[in-house]
Symmetry: C2
Amino acid sequence: MANSKKMDCVILGLLSHKPMTGYEIKKQMDYSLRFFWGASYGSIYPTLNNLVKDGMIVSKDISENGRDKIQYTITEKGSKHLKKWLILPVEKDELRYETLLKLFFGCENGVQETLHHIEVFENKTKKELAFLKMMEAELEQIKDTEDAHIYYLLTVRFGVKTYEAYLSWCEEAKKCLEESKV
Amino acid sequence: MANSKKMDCVILGLLSHKPMTGYEIKKQMDYSLRFFWGASYGSIYPTLNNLVKDGMIVSKDISENGRDKIQYTITEKGSKHLKKWLILPVEKDELRYETLLKLFFGCENGVQETLHHIEVFENKTKKELAFLKMMEAELEQIKDTEDAHIYYLLTVRFGVKTYEAYLSWCEEAKKCLEESKV
DNA sequence: CTTACCATGTAAGGCGTTACATGATTCA
DNA sequence: TGAATCATGTAACGCCTTACATGGTAAG
């Protein structure tokens, strides 16, 4: 009760914007929440069923583009539940950065291998950053068309700022390790 | 085999620096890895027993300061295992940022509450940053006394850079939301 | 004398992924 | 016609946290 399951709240949050199918929820997560939250079908579909049981959402069988789907809509109860969760203090923000782990133990691995890990990380970050900047540009254009957009934009900018910091660190870290080789 | 349990490798990594007890491993993690990795006793102690069974580490009952402890030392096999894991490509770096989740759904929560979440996040980040800067200063002084220190320093600098980016974002985000109130 | 910290562990249970299973449709 | 994508789910399992359980020592 004190702090509901997060998966529940993420899905309620997404459904508070518009009715969606499980499949669409997954797509939406992979697109909008990709850099700070993830979920698999194996957790999404069971969660949806539980939310229906709890009266937080209702399901409706629809047919679109010649495909059978199950569309979920948030209920009044679900909306209240979401809002209650939103005002609660954040429990924890956590990272599990394997890259940093391998860096921390870099001494056992050698400079060359460690540099390689950094480069892989750098490339991944560059790609993600390009994606985020594209989203940022998109959102800036439609910023005023909907209240929610400003919040989306803020999360995207968070991503942009952190990824830029990562890249700046990569530069420094590479230099630092190159020098230590000499 | 392809990619061993991470908990195993973290512990092997820490033990590769020096022999430690389970309690010390936990302390060390909370201190050095705090901002990118975490673990509880409930996973550390069982992991240690498994590592002994697998011959990756050996245990030794010791008595120190009038206390009975079990000290673990990495074996040749454990060292090889660690090195094998270190050169493997990173599987995934993940964040689970509840703050960003609540921000993303900020529209359902209102500007005021969202600002509050940002301020809490900002304060927590400031404290962590101060801690990291202290570690940075410490490490810079002893940088050349041991090969491993440069790697510790790099992880700490990663933290410093990202936390500074977080704070810079907080400033912007607060302004942005304040303006939207008008 | 009691609080805080040192020190080690177990058990239950939560939470989520991976892999499997199925089948329709669209497009090259 | 075969691959990719749409669409929904289940089952097994892994991994970890929380809470519980125990007991010693140091310091106020």
